[in-house]
Assembly symmetry: C2
Homo-oligomer: 148 residues x 2
């Protein structure tokens, strides 16, 4: 069974067509999307979806950990959250987002910071940005398309 369905069911929420469409929309594209973009994409499979539902659903999904908020270009966007604690790596050319697992490594940073500041660190937000392999190739051969 798909994990998000299980999480929803376990928290007493319903699995509905709109919610399916929204999850699919988030997954279809590698980029983090704004609510408006999610609406547009999701309407391809469920045409009379409403924007309010998108907002309500994204908030719900964020609460139960099915999607994650990403600070992207000064605004907050949404991307599916892989289980476990992963961090987004965003291509600054095409917006493609992949995830990486960096927790083990930043433990050192956190220990150092705790020692220096006296804080007890319990949360962290880590995002990286760079150029993905595809865009590196494109740049090398001077192409300049922007795909989704």
């Amino acid at each position: 069974m798909n994990t998000w369905k299980k999480i929803l069911a376990d928290s007493g929420k319903r699995i509905t067509r709109p919610r399916q469409a929204i999850i699919d929309a988030l997954r279809c594209c590698d980029k983090p999307q704004s609510p408006e973009q999610v609406l547009e994409t999701a309407r391809q499979s469920y045409p009379n979806l409403g924007l309010a539902t998108v907002y309500r659903t994204l908030n719900l999904f964020a609460e139960i950990g099915v999607v994650r908020l990403i600070q992207y270009d000064g605004t907050i966007r949404y991307a599916p959250a892989t289980l476990g604690h992963l961090h987004p790596l965003i291509c600054i050319e095409c917006g493609k987002t992949v995830e990486f697992h960096g927790d083990d490594d930043i433990v050192d940073v956190i220990n150092q910071v705790e020692k220096d500041t006296g804080f007890i660190v319990s949360e962290h937000l880590l995002q990286l940005g760079g150029i993905c392999p595809e865009c590196q190739s494109k740049q090398a051969e001077n192409g300049k398309s922007h795909g989704c």
Copy 2:
């Protein structure tokens, strides 16, 4: 000379009373603030400051690197940016923000990620959250005030 004044002057911008008040407001409090909060604070020293000016000034300051945007509680707030590349560490109890220097340490993470993903990593966003020493003491002695 204060650094922000130099940066402003060097980019051909003017040093005005409203801008002074806004910088002071950001510095008076350890917490990252919303534009509305900045307005309120800054009006204590410059009463007929307008909200539009706060927005324009914060945007300008962010562009030239005098303030930094911080994702705090789902919204984006502003804090003074210390020169050099520092990261915010935010107390989840009282909101107090201090900065730490973690670049040397996350170089390892970045190297690993580049090897794993093929990305060339050029930017990073790192924020930590936790409990500051003061709030640890307060918790220990069961106090529960929320100061600024």
